[in-house]
Amino acid sequence: MAQRVEPQATGAARPGDRHGGVAGVGDKALGAQVREARRRRARRARRRFLAIRLTSLVVVFGAWQLYGMHTIAILFAPITTVLHQGYLLFAHDQLGSQLGYSMWTFVCGYAIGVAVGIVLGMLMGAYRWAEAAVSMYVFALYATPMVALVPIISLWIGFDATAQIVIIALFVTWPMTVTVFHGVRQIDAELMEVSRSLRLNRRQMWVHVLLPGAVPYVITGATQGVAMGLVGVIIAELQTQLSGLGDALQTQSQTYHTAAALAVILLIMVLGVGLRAILGLVQHRAVPWLRIDRGDGAQR
């Protein structure tokens, strides 16, 4: 308890020395230097990671190429053959339109899944009654492999694009809901208290606290949702009416065009990576307050 601060020892405190608003000209120049050095370090680190990534790609694709060249074509194919087959599928087969179809159902199903997930997750997170009412179903469905529902969905809705969109939405929505729910719950209890103290009404609470606080989790959920949605696309296309990329995959592998099948798989992988990258950009723009911690000028 006794916090003995000896006044003689330190002398009177001088406001502004360290944390005050006024920085001298020398301080500013020094600050600029420090920031510049930090930027240089960050640039170097980025270059190094890029180099590691490229090396890794060369090694993996090199191994693929070597192994593919020394095995039988029915089992595996070198990367060059796979890429060539992919080109042929685009140029002379229907891979382009199949990709378009898959993307269309993906976007519809994904959008529905994300929207439902945000609404459900936010309600469950913000209101205890909503959690009490629906959380058991959400967690039960979250724990259920959605593949198990596919035959039933087909029975109810049929085999067309609508059924596929519903299946994709189901794949996306439960992880989305759970992530957003936890996100809202993790908004700092002190901040909720602050909002009460500031006498925010319900609308203001949503606009200023709950929604912005949940944004990082919404984006995390949406990023996970990309992977789940792509799983949904392929399963839906294989299990209902054979169509889109699922059709391409099935046709090529059942006719032992292994290289072509691998090309389709590669395409799906690229889709996953690309869509995640897009969401990464969205995240960067949508949560400027989290960008700060990456060492560009923050003084923690």
């Binding site: 006044p7 360290r18 608003g21 606290v209």
Partner: protein
């Protein structure tokens, strides 16, 4: 002091903090027969306290004496199990518009810029955009932070964050400011600087304030009156006027003849009232 010079910048004598000089009535706090139980133990037991308008009261006490609970009840953030609190004659049963709170962990919204954090309570209570912006900027000027309005809290040091917290509280021109160990989370040096700035602010704009702390030095430095609370059950064990005039500075308080006797008196009270010796310093 730099902060005082900053504070005088607006220059036209506008009332940014509630004005003691304008003869405004209200701003007093009357607690009577307060009880608060957590489980079977009374955290606050039969507490009576009257804080007059424009009085700066520090509440000190060991951990668990209910000082923060008392503050939270005044703020309308904790329910009152028995008894009443009236602020400016208005019964507290939820946060009052005339009361501002400064939180221990700053309570700033990380997704809002400094400026928007300070302007939020103004906008939320229906103040027009231009007026809110002007008052937010005035409040930031008062704490010497008017040039960092567009930064995010994560970019600030602890001391700066709490200055923003203070600016947000003052911007709404409250009748009463409640401060819950506001300087407990910053380092000792910054703490002293913040105390200095708070003293400077209060000598310009008198204002009813209840400041909870566990530091005896901080209490004597800042307060007109120190309330010492004891534990098990939480109650007032001493109520001491601080006979040190204003304006003050941290150093002038330390040099004052009554500083050491006061300090010893409070220290004895705390030792006597708390059997557990393990409280934080």
């Amino acid at each position: 002091m730099a902060s005082v010079e900053m504070a005088s910048a607006p220059g036209d004598g506008r009332r940014v903090v509630g004005a003691g000089e304008s003869g405004r009535s209200g701003g007093d706090i009357a607690c009577s027969g307060l009880y608060k139980w957590y489980g079977d133990s009374a955290v606050v037991a039969g507490l009576d306290l009257y804080v007059a308008q424009n009085q700066f009261v520090c509440v000190v006490g060991p951990s668990g004496c209910g000082k923060t609970t008392l503050l939270r009840m005044m703020a309308g953030l904790a329910s009152i199990d028995s008894g009443t609190i009236a602020i400016s004659g208005r019964q507290v049963n939820g946060p009052l518009p005339s009361v501002a709170v400064v939180f221990q962990h700053y309570g700033l919204f990380p997704w809002k810029t400094v400026f928007n954090n300070v302007a939020l309570p103004l906008r939320a209570s229906g103040v027009a955009k231009g007026e809110a912006a002007r008052r937010a900027n005035d409040a930031l000027t008062l704490v010497g932070l008017n040039d960092i309005g567009d930064q995010y809290p994560a970019q600030l040091s602890g001391g700066m964050k709490q200055r923003v917290g203070l600016a947000r509280a003052l911007a709404i021109q409250p009748e009463v400011v409640l401060l819950d160990e506001p300087f407990a989370a910053v380092d000792a040096q910054t703490r002293e600087i913040l105390q200095e700035e708070l003293l400077a602010l209060w000598s310009r704009y008198q204002q009813t304030a209840v400041f909870v702390t566990h530091s005896i030095d901080e209490a004597i430095t800042l307060a007109d009156r120190v309330i010492v609370m004891g534990t098990k059950p939480g109650r007032i064990v001493d109520d001491i006027e601080v006979p040190i005039g204003r304006p003050r500075s941290v150093a002038s308080v330390r040099r004052h003849e009554s500083y050491t006797p006061l300090r010893e008196r409070i220290w004895d009270q705390l030792r006597g009232s708390s059997t557990a010796g393990g409280e934080r310093g």
